[in-house]
């Protein structure tokens, strides 16, 4: 049922041209270029970053060449102390592979021979004044985010008591109105209508608002309103981890809704599993308070207290069936 709210397939950037990386991140990473500009046409194809390792001794087996290679002080000193013949051989061997990019850290200079061969093999050699560890960390973080799977979802994302709650449901069902009500009560809007979701890490999803239009909402009858201008900085957020998915559905007679709260349903987005709550809409029902309670209940569960399970446990105790408690505690 939820499939219809998600776009078809996951989006993933496949490549990053070094020229784009260099021009956009030059300042942030304090980059300089040692090889010719045409080497910048090279493509980075994944988020992997590593030191060159044993390839510098000519050991080619298991050389993971599709990674961005960082040369630190150890590597540069090693190369500088090699006799010319060995240096040439090892550099040629290394550059015979399709390396996307080499970066020399700590403001050190790569050996001339390496720049020569890299130019010939069209491998870009960049430099950074940042320390090796720092650069490696920052670059990995940047590349992981760049290559992270992402998608767009038709829904609304709000920060309710610090919990990222994403509302899904058919057009016009009341997602925006619900979020507007939450904003009025002091919670924060991340985005309405279009949620840009990125998967960072194994099971973590982050929802982001559109940079230019993210503060707006559409309210039927009212049109488009600017939440930031109306309610102020405390009412908006540019990004939030998505922690609970709330699906608003029209109440239907024969649809079985979770009556006890023990089901702990989940849904999958971009391969990550999220708790799912289905809320039936009935005229007169206050969705806002229900939303707040969903967030609060989630926080309680994080603390280790599961209301429905606790209720059932006490019930079983009351009935003298204490021995069955462990069995049923899933």
């Amino acid at each position: 049922m939820l499939k219809s709210f998600f776009t078809d397939g996951t989006l993933m950037k496949k490549t990053l041209k070094v020229s784009q990386f260099y021009s956009q991140q030059k300042e942030r990473f304090q980059l300089s270029l040692y090889t010719q500009e045409r080497t910048l046409e090279s493509l980075i194809v994944n988020h992997e970053v590593s030191r060159p390792g044993l390839i510098l001794c000519g050991f080619t087996k298991k050389f993971a060449y599709d990674r961005t290679l960082i040369f630190g002080e150890t590597e540069i000193v090693y190369l500088e102390n090699l006799p010319q013949k060995e240096l040439s051989t090892y550099i040629e061997t290394m550059c015979s592979f399709d390396i996307p990019c080499i970066v020399v850290s700590k403001g050190l200079k790569p050996p001339k021979r390496m720049v020569e061969v890299a130019n010939r093999r069209r491998i870009p050699v960049l430099g950074t004044t940042l320390g090796t560890q720092e650069f490696s960390r920052k670059l990995t973080g940047f590349l992981e985010q760049y290559f992270a799977p992402h998608t767009f979802v038709h829904g609304s994302l709000a920060d309710v008591y610090g919990v990222g709650v994403m509302y899904l449901g058919a057009s016009g069902i009341g997602k925006s109105e619900c979020v507007l009500d939450l904003v009025e009560r002091g919670h924060r809007l991340v985005c309405d209508d279009v949620v840009h979701i990125t998967r960072v890490g194994e099971n973590t999803l982050v929802g982001m608002a559109d940079e230019k239009f993210g503060n707006h909402m559409e309210i039927r009858g009212l049109g488009i309103i600017d939440i930031f201008r109306l309610f102020g900085i405390r009412a908006v957020r540019s990004r939030k981890r998505i922690e609970v998915v709330v699906e608003l559905v029209h109440w239907e007679e024969n649809v079985a809704f979770d009556r006890t709260g023990l089901a702990d349903r989940t849904t999958e987005i971009l391969g990550a599993e999220l708790p799912l709550v289905q809320v039936p809409l009935v005229p007169g029902k206050n969705i806002t308070v229900i939303s707040e309670v969903i967030a609060m209940n989630y926080l309680l569960k994080l603390k280790g207290y599961h209301s429905a399970k606790e209720f059932n446990r006490r019930l079983l105790e009351e009935m003298g069936q204490g021995s069955y408690i462990d069995e049923l505690s899933e």
């Binding site: 219809s4 709210f5 776009t7 078809d8 989006l11 767009f152 038709h154 057009s171 016009g172 309405d192 209508d193 279009v194 559109d210 239009f213 707006h216 909402m217 559409e218 488009i224």
Partner: protein
Amino acid sequence: MSAELKIQNKLGLHARPAAMLVQATNKFKSEILIKKNDMEVNAKSILGIMMLAAEHGSSLVLTVSGEDAEQALNAVTELFERKFDEAEEEENG
């Protein structure tokens, strides 16, 4: 069902044509999605449509699924071809 549509009106998919598009899509039961490059949005949401920032000449991909998919596809295609009645807009300026 899907179709590729081109924005022919000069001002692109701004508020007025977006509103026309949304009025049209909401008449149908089918799920209607519109995509520009990487970004795909629900065509029944005006905010989504406008966030595409589809300018004159840009190419959009329309994907429709549901019982009245064909009618929906035709209705939207017609709007694009009529350039969202931009000529009238200019006259009334």
